[in-house]
């Protein structure tokens, strides 16, 4: 069994301070869409400057380093209890090094634990055993501003004229973007889960945010809807930071789960432009970050 605490610490540092290239490229494309001299363009230019500075200085892109959400895909033979301990040790160190803000607060006493640990759900860690001999750990840092504007709809929704079909999914998703305005740090990325129960729906809506910005949905209907949602949302005129402008969404990712006959949930997780998610793999003794 390897001790991978140092590698996980590096994964946390990378995630907090170095925006993934696919996200940065999407913001670069968005800058070109906005009129020169506009507040929208100014906001995106500042964002890109900040991304560069954070990378150079190894400082957090955003001070809200969010909930650390880990997905661990482990080959047979690894101890999940041991991996959990190493993740927790890495998170404590990352907090000391100011890669993470102490973000774990007891909901009843209001006390901040100071080290990003607390209970069995902070940080959030999911385990899944996989074939082969590669250990993969994915990490997303999702801040509170964007988490707060997530929404879950139970269809049919009469007010939005949304029935139990993909047209209904489009309607409620657009409503979620409208309701969010600039408060989730637009331009955002939507993770949408159709179906499931209230719990599994929200989980799946976040899992789908681990996809790459430019990948296509394997289901052509959902792929078309993802593109349509971005196109429609960008007509809303909310723009970067809610300043007005053409870039309200950078992307949308849709997944689906089986549901009960009685339920039809659409769970929408909103991710801010500071779309921090990174991956490390360990194969034999070789560690790779991406």
């Amino acid at each position: 069994m390897h001790d991978i605490t140092e590698n996980i610490l590096e994964l946390v540092r990378l995630t907090s301070t170095d925006l993934p290239p696919d996200v940065e490229a999407a913001i670069h494309r968005a800058v070109e869409q906005e009129e020169s001299g506009s507040a929208a363009r100014g906001a995106l230019e500042t964002i890109l400057q900040n991304v560069e500075l954070s990378r150079q200085n190894s400082t957090p892109i955003c001070q809200d380093t969010g909930t650390p959400i880990f997905y661990v895909y482990y080959p047979a033979g690894w101890s999940t209890r041991s991996i959990r301990q190493q993740i927790e040790a890495a998170v404590v160190q990352a907090t000391k090094k100011a890669y993470l803000r102490p973000n774990s607060v007891d909901s009843i006493t209001g006390k901040n634990s100071g080290n990003n640990l607390g209970g069995s759900h902070f940080p959030s860690i999911h385990f899944e055993e996989v074939d082969g001999n590669t250990l993969t750990i994915e990490l997303m840092l999702k801040g509170g501003g964007c988490e707060n504007v997530g929404a879950q709809y139970s269809l049919p929704n009469d007010a939005l004229n949304a029935g139990r079909d993909l047209a209904g999914v489009r309607r409620v998703a657009l409503d979620a973007v409208y309701q969010a305005q600039g408060q989730g740090c637009a331009p955002g990325i939507l993770g949408i889960a159709v179906g499931g129960d209230r719990g599994s729906g929200y989980y799946a809506s976040k899992e789908t945010l681990y996809r790459k910005m430019e990948d296509a949905n394997l289901d052509p209907q959902l792929d078309a809807l993802e593109k349509k949602l971005v196109e429609d949302s960008n007509q809303l005129g909310i723009g970067p930071m809610g300043f007005g402008g053409k870039t309200t969404l950078l992307g949308a990712k849709i997944t689906h789960l089986n549901r009960l006959p009685a339920s039809f949930f659409v769970s929408v997780s909103y991710m801010c432009w500071a779309y921090r998610r990174r991956k490390m793999t360990l194969t034999n003794d070789r560690v790779k970050f991406e």
Binding site: A39, G42, A43, T46, I47, Q49, N50, L53, S54, N57, T59, P60, I61, C62, Q63, D64, T65, A98, L100, R101, P102, N103, V105, G110, K111, N112, G114, G144, G145, N148, L160, N161, A167, R171, L174, D175, Y178, Q181, G182, Q183, G184, C185, D232, Q235, L236, G237, I238, G239, M241, G242, F243, G244, C272, W273, A274
Partner: protein, 207 residues
């Protein structure tokens, strides 16, 4: 771009309009969810008795807030062990959560500027007209960049709220923001919301 020195005069505030970019200089304090609730419960509505260091903190922050700015920010701070504090990352947090409190807090402490992101609602806009005050929008997530304008951390109150929720007293130089709510009733957020609502209705009317 216009430089504003804190504390600010009523004339300076009234001359600001929605859309004006500004650079702030001087002393400002951070305060967010816990701080706003604490100020309102303990000193404004007085539904909670002052305890521990509440009165000393009140006496200390009152002159600092008068005519100055409160910043909705939960920073990443280095030097917690040595108390040689330095802001590492310090972008704005979402302001709308303070909407139930902000107007009262502005009135009580004579706060003339609120910095945050995402904008605020009608109660805060009304307070901006009365105090007078402005809402200043900083770029959400631009945390490393903004931290560089915090030249000095002068002290901290209510650290027992936790690092993000504590009230950090800072000296800033050329802190960048844009006026998005002014003292004349103008709000960029209200107009963007109204426009996007109309577009949403059109989009929903299509198949």
């Amino acid at each position: 771009m216009r430089s504003l020195n804190m504390p600010m005069t009523d004339e300076a505030i009234r001359s600001l309009k929605v859309g004006d970019p500004v650079l702030l200089n001087g002393i400002m304090i951070t305060g967010r969810d816990a701080a706003h609730k604490w100020m309102v419960d303990t000193f404004i509505k007085q539904t909670r008795h002052a305890q521990d260091d509440d009165l000393q903190v009140y006496a200390a922050i009152k002159p600092l807030l008068a005519g100055s700015v409160i910043y909705h920010c939960g920073p990443v701070v280095a030097g917690l062990d040595t108390k040689d504090y330095k802001f590492v990352a310090a972008g704005p947090t979402t302001s709308i959560r303070e909407e139930p409190y902000q107007g009262m807090v502005m009135q009580h402490f004579n706060i003339k500027g609120v910095i945050g992101k995402g904008g605020m609602g009608p109660k805060t806009l009304a307070a901006c007209q009365e105090v007078p005050g402005v809402y200043l929008h900083a770029i959400g997530g631009a945390a490393s960049l903004i931290a560089q304008t915090v030249v000095k951390v002068l002290g901290v109150y209510k650290l027992d709220f936790g690092v993000p929720e504590a009230m950090w007293v800072t000296e800033v130089k050329d802190f960048p923001a844009v006026v998005t709510m002014d003292s004349h009733g103008g709000s960029l957020h209200a107009s963007v919301e109204a426009h996007s609502k109309a577009v949403l209705q059109e989009l929903l009317a299509r198949a």
